[in-house]
């Protein structure tokens, strides 16, 4: 039930945009996004719920296509602080038990 993330890694210059995709083979109740910096704990960014509700970060946006079981995270005008590994977590049953993807490593350079 592990979701598939793409790309696996991306390098951006400051100010550029990026899209990270998350795809599941199972119907989903919600999708969660986290960012993890090297040697640190994952940090919550956003939850997208079936039906369109979103909770989370005010400077990062995301979409959730329920029919395709896909979510995308949009990072615009990237900053150096955006560097890290981004994980999506999928929740097929609404019980908040997450299946995480293997992550997308984002590096922002000056």
């Amino acid at each position: 039930q592990q979701p598939v993330q793409s790309p696996q890694a991306v390098i951006l210059r400051e100010g550029e945009d990026a899209v990270i995709n998350c795809s599941s083979s199972k119907a989903l109740y919600s999708v969660h996004w986290y960012r993890q910096k090297h040697g640190e704990a994952p940090v919550f960014l956003m939850i997208l719920l079936k039906g369109g509700e979103q909770k989370g970060h005010d400077k990062i946006s995301a979409s959730f296509n329920e029919k395709k079981q896909q979510s995308s995270l949009y990072l615009t005008a990237s900053q150096l602080s955006y560097s890290g590994t981004y994980f999506c977590g999928t929740d097929p049953g609404g019980a908040n038990n997450l299946f995480f993807g293997t992550g997308t490593r984002l590096t922002v350079i000056p």
């Binding site: 919550f44 997450l98 993807g101």
Partner: protein, 114 residues
């Protein structure tokens, strides 16, 4: 930052020995989770708890047991550690209540089984 601590933060142990990892929270959150993180696998759920003495298995529970006798503490035990259990272990908490809620992660415990 959510009040979550994990102990120990680093541990080296030998194959066959028992190991207990502790997660402590000061947020009075109902839900607590144990994950392991390995290269190429991301985070995988081991066990979770939805209240005192209420626990259930996750995706990779074989070889692990848990206990929760108080709201604030969630213990993960490896009864007889194996080299395949070398990993970084993260505890997470979630407020629960109505609807889907975010999870907050502790700092992690790096466990090496030799």
């Amino acid at each position: 930052d959510a009040g979550i601590t994990q102990s120990p933060r680093h541990k080296v142990t030998e194959t066959g020995t028992p190991v207990t990892l502790r997660c402590h929270q000061t947020e009075n959150h109902r839900y607590m989770y144990w994950y392991r993180q390995d290269p190429g696998h991301g985070l995988r759920l081991i066990h979770y708890s939805y209240g005192v003495k209420d626990t259930d298995k996750g995706e990779v529970s074989d070889g692990y047991s848990v206990s929760r006798s108080k709201t604030e503490d969630f213990l993960l035990t490896l009864e007889s550690a194996t080299s395949s259990q070398t990993s970084v272990y993260f505890c997470a908490i979630s407020p629960g209540g109505e609807g889907v809620r975010e999870q907050y992660f502790g700092p992690g415990t790096r466990l090496t089984v030799t």
